[in-house]
């Protein structure tokens, strides 16, 4: 079973994402911001991180940059999942090391196809 860490400050989004991911046979963990996500990763490395952009304490971008600087044996795939949906944001995310990008609102098919593209589903 593959694992996914959902990082989003919205409880509703976390719940929706968890629901979709569980039907896709993922084990799901949650974090409310980038800092929490980093500490989750210390204890358990997920296969993929579903990452929001704007969050209090530590944003998705800060989290991603910090994550990519760590020298883990294996880095998780990172799929941004955000309402920041213009080309400039997307380019910045890719440059910072994101593997895929989902623009909210999204549906099950979109998420599933993105997870397939990064090779975890």
């Amino acid at each position: 079973m593959k694992s996914c860490l959902v990082v989003d400050d919205s409880k509703v989004i976390r719940k929706v994402a968890r629901h979709i991911l569980e039907t896709l046979n993922f084990s799901v963990d949650e974090a409310e911001d980038g800092r929490q996500a980093l500490s989750r990763i210390e204890t358990k490395m997920p296969d993929v991180v579903l990452l929001d952009w704007n969050m209090p304490v530590m944003s998705g971008m800060e989290f991603l940059r910090t994550l990519r600087q760590q020298d883990f044996d294996v880095q998780p795939k990172v799929v941004f999942c955000t309402t920041e949906n213009d080309a400039a944001h997307i380019r910045a995310a890719i440059e910072a090391g994101a593997d895929e990008y989902v623009m909210k609102p999204f549906d099950r098919e979109t998420l599933e196809s993105k997870l397939q593209i990064v090779g975890v589903a």
Partner: protein, 283 residues
């Protein structure tokens, strides 16, 4: 709003006469949703009013719009990647060898909806630019729905559409974002595909196609229509051309114009060398 039996029969009849598509009982509940937008746009307030207008036939455009709205246009980029792989890795390498002299490949996407299928193919050719250097790749994409063809030609997709099936890199490479969360496909891709309105129940478009894609279109045709359409596809196919159907669609039981490609299960190949009629009971 209730859609009465009579109304739904009239609508189903109209749809089948115009396109061959049957509105099975299980799909009739969708009529209301399907026509809601059109009725609002045209200021039609009840199903009765719509049916009366249709039957009176004073606005000839109305029937066309109703038919377009009733058609199922579901599609997305690289829908069923395995099928694309069969075409790209099974059919095209062989065609590239057999068409070496003329260096031309013709493809027909029949029932292309809003264009994603044809554009996915075009992208695949551009991704392998070096391999296809000096080749003329002709992609014709047709659909009975004028609305769908207009959208396909425009090549503008919503946020949800553009992320279905495409990787973020493909999206960034081939699209630019516009106002209102719309994404416009590159001119380079648009220039690779010719879009036309065409009805599969009528004579095929001019040309001898090396690959025909007719995916997720035949599902709601009657058996008789399906057989007739397969004959037309055969007429339009090069003698050694390929046919790709949707997952779950088959040619089995509809004559011998195409046969399963033994090297690429899932692809069909034109069986143009018809065996002469058997003299004895041999064949």
């Amino acid at each position: 709003m209730e859609v009465s039996d009579v109304s739904s029969r009239i609508l189903a009849g109209l749809l089948e006469t115009r396109t061959g598509q049957q509105l099975t009982m299980s799909r009739r509940w969708r009529i209301e949703t399907a026509l809601g937008g059109l009725m609002r746009d045209r200021g039609i307030t009840s199903m009765d009013q719509l049916i009366t207008a249709l039957v009176a036939g004073r606005e000839p455009w109305l029937a066309g719009e109703v038919v377009d709205a009733l058609l199922n246009n579901e599609t997305f980029f690289f829908r069923d990647r395995a099928a694309f792989d069969l075409v790209l890795k099974g059919a095209l390498p062989r065609l590239q060898r057999s068409r070496e002299a003329e260096k031309k490949i013709s493809i027909w996407c029949a029932g292309c909806s809003t264009g994603q299928e044809a554009y996915s193919l075009a992208m695949s050719f551009l991704d392998e630019r070096v391999r296809w250097q000096g080749w003329k790749i002709d992609i014709l994409a047709t659909d009975v729905s004028r609305t769908a063809i207009e959208r396909a030609r425009e090549g503008v997709y919503s946020q949800l559409e553009v992320q279905r099936g495409l990787s973020v890199l493909q999206m960034m490479r081939w699209f630019t974002d516009e106002e209102g969360q719309q994404w416009r496909i590159s001119k380079q891709l648009r220039d690779m595909v010719r879009f036309d309105v065409h009805n599969l129940t009528e004579a095929p478009p001019k040309g001898r196609f090396d690959v025909i894609l007719c995916r997720n279109v035949l599902l709601y045709f009657s058996e008789a229509t399906r057989t007739a359409v397969f004959q037309r596809l055969a007429e339009a196919s090069a003698p050694d051309g390929y046919l790709m159907l949707g997952a779950g669609e088959t040619i089995i039981g509809h004559g011998s114009d195409f046969v399963i490609d033994p090297d690429n299960r899932g692809l069909y190949i034109r069986n143009a060398v018809q065996q002469p009629a058997p003299l004895s009971g041999l064949a």
